[in-house]
Symmetry: C7
Subunit: 272 residues, 7 copies
């Protein structure tokens, strides 16, 4: 048994060694190729390195565990091939693991998102901190770290690829002149690109989005560079509020028309 | 082992080559056929090219991976045919992959939507940016890129095939004359097709959609060319608001009838 | 290999031919039978033609694909019979496809709905545009085209078979005389069938549906020919509003009884 | 092949014949038995006839299809026994079909509901129009026809077996005398059974259901013959409203106690 | 074939006979045992009789059906043992049936509820009308009959075993003296057990449940005999309302503090 | 057959005997061990006794049923080993049963909760009344008895292990001095531990939880012995209300700033 | 049989011994290694120790149970390998157990969270109290102990790794000068880091988050050390309220513009 433990330690150290050496070989290979004639984008390259490293690590660990188990006389091969009760239970229990790895492979292979992108999955959103074959780590802007098995990343939304759009809804009073309000807003919008360089083109006044119960809602949209839409929306809101104040255009409070009625009326009915 | 790595690299380069050549062959074939006697629509043609290219790429990659694995002495064939624990786990884990490809095949084959269409799936909507055998990419109008495995595109809604319909609800006061309001609105609607060419026919005033607590809601619908309904609804809202203002027809604020009652009444009860 | 490609093209063209010829044979067969002694309804006939055509198309395509694959030496038969990992994954992945076709078969066979009907499934409603063995296309009244795999059409509601019912709720004031209001409404309802021919019988005043916080709600229902209920409800709403205005019966605004209390009272408590 | 088509037509006509004859035999058998010594209720009898007819039709059709397929040389038996990929997919895809028939059998066998009953399933409610081995058709009171596979009818609620209960909640003012209100209501309830014969016994005043923010809610319940509860609730509501009006008992509007406070107070704080 | 039909009828009549005789044997056996030395509770006895009868009926019917099918030459045994496509589909389709019977067995065996108990399942609640091996029938207090397959009765709540608790929340005004209110309520609660015999002990005033925006909410709870909590809550509500009225303790309406502000203020800003 | 019935009765009585004897043996074994050198906590002991008793009962019943069935010539062993259609259906149908027992075993083995604890599962909460291998019984404080199969107790929350925390939110007016309010509250909190011994340490004033539209919300938390948080929260609420009243600190009603505007303004627009 | 019981007790004691000895060996091994050349972080070390101890315990218990069962002549090996009905049921029933252990292994192996971290799973959040191979225990801040099987910890959020962010929204009046308000707030924010050391850098005023119906909402965010965001948000709220009060900047109550209208107007319509 002492021999067995010795063997296990040797396997353990050896697998560590292989992973270290393998990783540096992979990195060197890619460095060299960069000087060669066969060119790919750096983003694609990071993806490939990560994919190879991950595959290496998991494969070596998996092989090591099997060798260790065989050292202590457990026939893993036979066990994996058999299909009795235990096999059924393990097969079903492990399907999520397999699903995670398959999905993880496709996330890396198809370059769906990369570290630093702002993405949204079914339940979480945030900046990608780490992509692995089995799990992905996302950091929300409030500092939370979400650890998500890749199998749960079914449909994914990437915010960092196209320009974002900031949306601002602004209310003006029914009594006010809408044409004047629109003109004032459009004047302002034309001035904005000079002041804010994250803007892509002049923001647009879409028109009357809603005829609310107390106000007419106008919608402004602005194309901005990726992920600047929240910040830009705040700035546009402030600029609009100030400009409309200057021009004396009222942003309306809720309104109510009240009819005061005499009590007698009802009392009569009550006394009928 | 050096031989093995050499062989893998050769397989890798070779498969790249086949895909490149295969794709250009497919494109040429279709170009030539266009001059021939056998005609199909250009949209259908793009679909077929995409389908063939996709099939080619996936088949070649799949074959290459199997050949590489066999190079390093893993009997993939035997592994795939066996049905032990591992097989069970992998079979279950991979079913989503198979489902994605089957659904993807039917999306392309049945031409459910094509690049540029505005579609809506269970969770997302936007313009189709890319259709593949495994995933579809949709870009929302706010710039988000949704990456959806085809297996999740179960029921799909296509906005770009038929004309869209803009819907505008407008409130008029209970005290007002509804007949006059209807007449004013219908006059306006008749003028609209001249001014807006995205309109298909004259918009229609459907009638009294709702008798609300403070207002009578009239509904206007307008058939427009695909995807212009949001923009047209905004324009109709503005036109209606202006016209009703001109004619002095009130768009009502919420109303309340208030009975002021003396406190004594209750105090008496309290003092009983 | 050239031979293989030639063979594939021949199979491709041949299957096209068979489908065309087969479809015309089916149509002719039914035309002839119409003159014969064995009668069925035209709706049933369309159903049977569609069913036969669909079966023909899918069967021929399926056979063609298998023949093509065998041409390039893939033993589909053996593959389909084997039950290794790949088989498991494919079997599970394809179950939706099989479910779609089985459900599609029963939709056509049992004549659950036909082209032109207005139906509602779990998620969508609209006019049926096309029924196939695998998918059904529904067009909503706003112009959206929903493409639904038949397997998702589990429970279906058909609006086009029985007469529809328009429902109108109308509020009258608590202070008003309900008997008078009911009488006025019933008078009006009796006049309606003359004016609107989509009505089936005289609409009915069901009675006091709700004693709300500010109003007494009366409910009117009208049986109309299929799918005219939305339009008829709007017309009845307008007629009711006009008639009640004429008779001076008030449709009430929200009411509130307000007790103004002196501040001192509370201040005393606060100063205790 | 001509022979094959001939054979198929013969099978087709023959199966039609068997079903027709079989159905009339079943009906005659039951008619005769009615005169015999062995008695069952008519409802149970309809159920048994339907069950036998349904079983006959499905069995004959199923046998016919298998015979037709064997005519064109497809070994259905072998196919059904094999368990390759296709078998897996078909087996899973068809499980819903089997589930529908099993549930359908128990619905008919256990007599859960019969044609004409008002039932409610998970998603729909209405009058049963047709019960089959695979699907049930329900017609809602608004004229919609719901077609539901029996497998979806898991838990079912039958409204037509026991008497229904109409529930009416009525608000009285806090300032009013509850004892008087209760007495007035109970007087009325005692008069109702004479006027409305769908009532089973005297309706009951349960008591103070809720102490709301502006009103005391009293609850009245009335046992009626099946399915008359909606109609009876409307009648009781009207009777109650009229009687309370007569006796001068107020049905209260929402109330609010308002304290008017001077602005200075806050301004002082603001200027601190 | 005539012989076959004869045989089927004989089997049919015979199975009827066995069930009748078997049931009376079971009942007699239990009657006799009651006089014997081996005692069990009557509720437990009903359970055992029901369980045995149910098992008998289902077993005899099942045997009869198999014998009938074998009469017409269908080898049910072989069919049930085979595991082809059909087997797969049937096996999956029938799993709900098996689940229903297993759950039903445990409901009866563990005596989870018995006829007459008021229970609540996931979707329904009501008085148990009938418990079977496959389905349970529940009658709601509004007269609806819910038919629930036992497999759907996963988690069940039984109201009829322990005493129920009536909960009454009562609002008193912020300006009022809470100590006085509490004292008044406790006085009343002490008097209640004399008047209402369904009460178990003196109801308890728990204390200040909530400091609402316009009122202080006090909570009263009363232990009552099973299922009398709804009725008792109504009685306590009325008693509390009357007693508080007598002592002049106000049940408060919603309150609002209003600051009237001059319009100029805002207009100045607008004119800036 | 008479012999069979005799044998069944013998088995039945014998299994009863074994269970009775077995249980008393288990209890004695544990009693003796308590005097021995090998010590465990009493709670752990109850757990082990329950686990052993449960296992004994189920094992004996299971063996008895199999012996009975074999008496009447049903080969249970062969039946359980076979895997035809029936096997499939039963296997699937029985998986919940197995899941219940496995989860039940771990609940007892890991001592997740014991009789008397207040726990919360996905759908229910209450005091644990009984834990078995298959089901757990929970009694809510309103007297309902929830019977839950252990397989449904996935995630469980135990309230009885750590101290509970009572949370009280109290509103003070915007116009008031928050520092004074905080000082008053903290004074009170320091006095509380003397008066209420269920308190663990001095309750804490966390600070400004929310700046509401009409009030500033302060939050107080108090650590108490397990399950006393609801009762203590009520007491703290009352103490706070009284103390703030004494010091003249207002608990504010909802506020509203009202601008009265002349009607002409709008009328002018309407007459434009 | 006495021999059997003796053997079982020996196995029982022996397994206890092995676990005790094994655990101390593991701890010693790690202590020694700490002095050696091969360094790892202490957090990682705790993880490895826990993983090894857990594996040891479960393996020994599992082996002991099998040996005990074999002592009483149950062939566990054969039982586990067989795949009849029982096997199917057990295999399905046990899959959750396997899933729990696999997930638990990865939680420990990948160091997703450790004891003392504040984490959030799908349904619960709190401080981790214990991590095991099968379950994780989380203690909420209100003292509840959540016991969660690891298989239910799919996606996990860890709050304790990155700095947290406190978010405070503050309303200012529309009539007020926003520039002044912003300046006042920013002055305050600059002073805060001196007073509160849990702050990481100066809190930031993001800008106008929302133009509400009665107020302009400004948002302040502050990066703080992990888990101090709730406490810091409360402090910032209080500081902001005090500073704005000092400067006389109003935090606005809800506003309403009221038009008082004469009743005649409507009465005229009513009398039309």
């Amino acid at each position: 048994m002492g021999l067995g433990i010795g063997k296990i330690i040797v396997i353990f150290l050896f697998s560590f060694l292989i992973i270290r050496v393998g990783k540096s070989v992979i990195r060197n290979l890619f460095k060299r190729r960069r000087r060669g004639p066969f060119q790919i984008t750096p983003r694609r390259e990071t993806t490939l390195i990560k994919l190879l490293e991950n595959t290496l690590t998991y494969t070596v660990y998996f092989a090591a565990v099997i060798m260790m188990l065989e050292t202590i006389n457990i026939q893993v091969g036979a066990l994996l091939a058999g299909a009795g009760i235990a096999g059924l239970a393990i097969g079903f229990g492990a399907q999520n693991l397999v699903k995670d790895i398959i999905t993880g492979f496709f996330i890396i292979f198809e370059d769906q998102f990369s570290v630093g992108d702002y993405i949204k999955t079914a339940n979480f959103e945030g900046f990608v901190e780490e992509i692995g074959l089995r799990t992905t780590k996302i950091k929300s802007w409030t500092g939370l770290l979400h650890i998500i098995p890749n199998g749960s990343i079914n449909e994914v939304t990437n915010y960092s690829i196209h320009n974002s759009v900031a949306i601002v809804d602004i209310s003006v009073a029914y009594e006010g002149d809408i044409a004047t309000a629109e003109q004032t807003i459009e004047e302002l919008l034309k001035e904005l690109p000079e002041r804010y360089e994250e803007l892509v083109g002049v923001p647009e006044l879409l028109g009357v989005q809603n005829l609310g119960s107390s106000d007419v809602v106008l919608r402004v949209v602005a194309e901005v560079i990726p992920m600047e839409h929240w910040s830009m929306a705040r700035k546009i809101r402030k600029e609009l509020k100030n400009r409309l104040d200057e021009r004396g255009i009222e942003i309306p409070f809720p309104r109510l028309v009240m009819y005061s009625r005499q009590e007698e009326e009802t009392l009569e009915i009550e006394n009928k």
